[in-house]
């Protein structure tokens, strides 16, 4: 077989479909010809790329779109040509009035009203499958048989967010419930954002060509079932479609559905209600409109002493950390206006609740207004409540370590503060990270301390600029005979005592990526304590090591748990690094 003959085979068939003689000839040619071998490999690798399964609900939605009869072909054509949106008389007026929905291209002529469909589920109280949201309500009736556009209310330009319906990639009822609960709460929260108009999808318009500022979509799936129960998972995708900043931000979120780890008071699935505010907070920061009038309103909220402190601090956080580009940190902190800073300082220096004052200090982080220095020093020296002192010292260390007065204050705190954590945070700014690492490691290894206290330095690092140094600290934590066992004990205890915070999660994540040889021992130790597929995933980066492969082969061959056998076999099948 020559190259031309082989190419013909490759263009029409798969090698394994060939008769034996032809297959042998093809394989012989492959072995001898690097170019054809490369072509063959490209074809095979492309064919092997995974394709996520399409849910039956999604297929049903497509079918419903084509067979519902709500719109026949000709009517679709007309609707599409005019970019009109079909509405429902009974719910149109109310929905449009409540939601303040807006159309971009009012139809000049009458449009036939479609058969009744449910009111907008995403925009309402619940989230339902795509098939039920196919016809969105964005118009109001003016007279029988005729519709016209809801006039846009005058005022500052509103930004639009297109909310796509929740997509189900699972048939599991409780998982769907939890995901719906979560997504509904998120969309409900987004609706509260001033200056942001929520609109629904339109089957006649390609979402990618829809003129909106943002688009959010979500897919619900069952993450996995382990000893604690079933986990729900929602994959959110926030499309930012403004100007040059076009991007997609994927966000993965989930929690337990049922089992021992799920508190009884969680009505729609454990974690769903608790997760929504955190994600909402993130989304709010991502999509705060750059509209100056909105920024003005937020600034006014910060300054409005009549508002509850929680609302004022939230407005301050949003103002101070706009547009998250990627990751959970704040990339852009424009300097706030003096009036906003003064208003926040009023709370920080006032006699109020220490936790509120601490929240304001944290929300001001990144601001380098000189007038902040003295109040922060005052708190660092005199405040009896440790968390507030810690926030003030962190701000002095991160934002003002070049200032002479701030540096002297940090030196004093490093020497005299009653709290070891506060002392070391100050010392970290004045004397470097070596002392800090020593302290963090010694604290983590100190079995006489409560678990939360042992993990406090890691938690502090995770929520501050030091987060990037966590992998380095981890390597030191793993150094030394038996160090991995101590770490496994600590993290297991944290899980048992429900002390798994963001820092612990970040540490676990670093342990997955760590190339330290003891990281494998750590995961083996964890697997002994808690034999779960999730734990096996910690060995992913190390799957090329002989001892890891032996362990995986053992599990794949003989473990009584089918899921573990499958997970181990799956890891073994992956190409080695």
């Amino acid at each position: 077989m020559n190259c031309q003959e082989f190419a013909q085979v490759l263009d029409e068939q798969e090698l394994h479909q060939l008769p034996a003689v032809a297959r042998e000839a093809a394989e012989a040619h492959l072995a001898a010809c690097a170019a054809c071998s490369s072509d063959h490999e490209v074809h095979q690798r492309l064919a092997a790329l995974p394709i996520p399964a399409v849910s039956t609900a999604r297929v049903a939605g497509w079918r419903a779109l084509g067979t519902s009869g709500a719109l026949d072909g000709a009517r679709r054509q007309r609707v599409r040509a005019r970019f009109a949106v079909i509405g429902v008389l009974a719910v149109m007026a109310a929905a449009a009035a409540v939601l303040g929905l807006r159309r971009e291209d009012p139809p000049a002529q009458a449009v036939e009203v479609a058969t009744a469909v449910a009111p907008s589920p995403v925009l309402g109280d619940t989230v339902v499958p795509a098939s039920l949201i196919a016809e969105e309500v964005v118009t109001v009736a003016t007279e029988s048989g005729r519709v016209s556009a809801q006039p846009v209310q005058p005022g500052p330009r509103a930004l639009t967010l297109l909310v796509q319906p929740l997509d189900y990639e699972t048939e599991d009822g409780p998982v769907r419930d939890a995901a719906e609960h979560f997504y509904s709460a998120v969309v409900g929260g987004l609706r509260e954002i001033p200056g942001l108009q929520i609109i629904g999808p339109d089957p006649a318009i390609d979402p990618a060509s829809r003129q909106t500022d943002f688009r959010i979509s979500a897919a619900a799936r069952t993450a996995k079932a382990n000893q604690q129960g079933v986990q729900w998972e929602v994959r959110l995708r926030m499309h930012v479609l403004q100007g040059d900043a076009r991007r997609v931000q994927p966000i993965l979120v989930g929690g337990m559905v049922a089992g021992e780890a799920c508190p009884a008071e969680a009505p729609a699935g454990c974690g769903a209600a608790a997760m929504a505010p955190a994600i909402l907070d993130l989304l709010r920061r991502m999509i705060v409109p750059a509209d100056p009038s909105l920024e003005g309103r937020l600034a006014a909220q910060v300054q409005d002493a009549a508002l509850p402190p929680v609302e004022r601090v939230r407005a301050l956080e949003i103002l101070n950390c706009q547009r998250i580009a990627a990751g959970a940190t704040c990339p852009r902190r424009d300097q706030l206006g003096a009036d906003v800073v003064q208003a926040a300082l009023g709370v920080v220096s006032g006699p109020g609740d220490p936790s509120t004052r601490a929240a304001f200090v944290r929300a001001l982080r990144g601001q380098q207004h000189p007038e902040l220095i003295q109040p922060l020093i005052e708190i660092a020296h005199r405040e009896p409540v440790e968390p507030l002192r810690l926030e003030a010292v962190t701000s002095l260390a991160e934002d003002f370590s070049g200032d002479v007065a701030a540096r002297s204050a940090l030196e004093l705190v490093a020497r005299d503060d009653a709290s070891p954590l506060v002392r070391k945070v100050a010392a970290r700014a004045t004397s470097g990270t070596a002392i800090w690492n020593e302290y963090a490691i010694a604290t983590a290894r100190d079995t006489a301390l409560p678990v939360a206290q042992r993990l406090a330095p890691v938690e502090w690092m995770t929520s501050n600029k030091a987060r990037g140094e966590l992998p380095g600290l981890l390597d030191q934590l793993l150094d030394g005979a038996g160090a991995y066992v101590a770490l496994a004990d600590l993290l297991t205890a944290a899980q048992k005592e429900s002390q798994v915070g963001a820092g612990t999660m970040a540490l676990m994540s670093s342990l997955r990526d760590s190339r330290h040889s003891a990281a494998v021992d750590f995961w083996f130790a964890i697997f002994e304590r808690s034999p779960e597929a999730t734990v096996l995933s910690g060995l992913y980066r190390h799957r090329g090591e002989a001892r890891v492969r032996r362990k995986l082969e053992e599990i794949a061959a003989a473990h009584p748990d089918l899921k573990l056998r499958e997970a181990a076999a799956s890891l073994l099948e992956q190409p080695q690094n």
């Binding site: 790329l49 599409r80 999660m505 992913y540």
Partner: protein, 184 residues
């Protein structure tokens, strides 16, 4: 209405999964693939009478899908849209750790292939996707309306192009420049 339902079920519904698979191969992301298939469904619904007259509805549907994909790609070129699909952009929140499945999906080789694929020309992506889905050149000729021999050459170029994208960057060895001898 019943007629429409029956026709759609007979002509389109059996091919929805295939359409999705090809759409996903072309776009490499689920929401866009869903949107593309939805668009094909609408077009099919508008043209059920035409569709009923063709021998192979799947090829007709794939042709529509390909045309829609080309339109989409053209629009995106005009308004570049940067997908951030790699794992580094995914924010993980507490209470859920990525399981083995998620981690396997992050496989670096796979990701490199995916990224290289997305850098190919639109027509090359179509060819490679249909071929990867098991369609031979004769079928692809019907779907794309391009002559088989032209397709063969394009397919060959597409594979070579992808292989080139996948080649690891060669590190250039530092150049050694001899110092001039001192004239002592």
């Amino acid at each position: 209405m019943t007629d429409t339902t029956g026709q759609f079920d007979a002509l389109v519904t059996p091919h929805l999964t295939t359409l999705y698979r090809v759409a996903y191969r072309l776009l490499r992301n689920t929401p866009d693939a869903h949107d593309l298939v939805q668009d094909v469904c609408i077009t099919a619904c508008e043209n059920l009478r035409d569709l009923a007259g063709v021998d192979r509805p799947d090829r007709w549907l794939l042709r529509v899908l390909n045309n829609r994909f080309i339109n989409l790609a053209t629009r995106r070129r005009r308004a570049p849209f940067v997908p951030i699909d790699d794992a580094s952009g995914v924010l993980q929140f507490p209470s859920l750790e990525p399981g083995p499945e998620a981690l396997l999906q992050q496989d670096e080789r796979e990701r490199a292939l995916q990224h290289a694929f997305l850098r190919l020309e639109v027509s090359q992506r179509t060819l490679l996707s249909l071929r990867a889905e098991g369609y031979g050149l004769e079928e692809i000729e019907v779907i794309t309306g391009v002559a088989k021999e032209v397709l063969r050459a394009r397919l060959h170029r597409a594979r070579r192009s992808l292989a080139q994208h996948l080649e690891p960057q060669q590190e250039t060895a530092p150049r050694v420049v001899p110092l001039p001898r001192s004239a002592s």
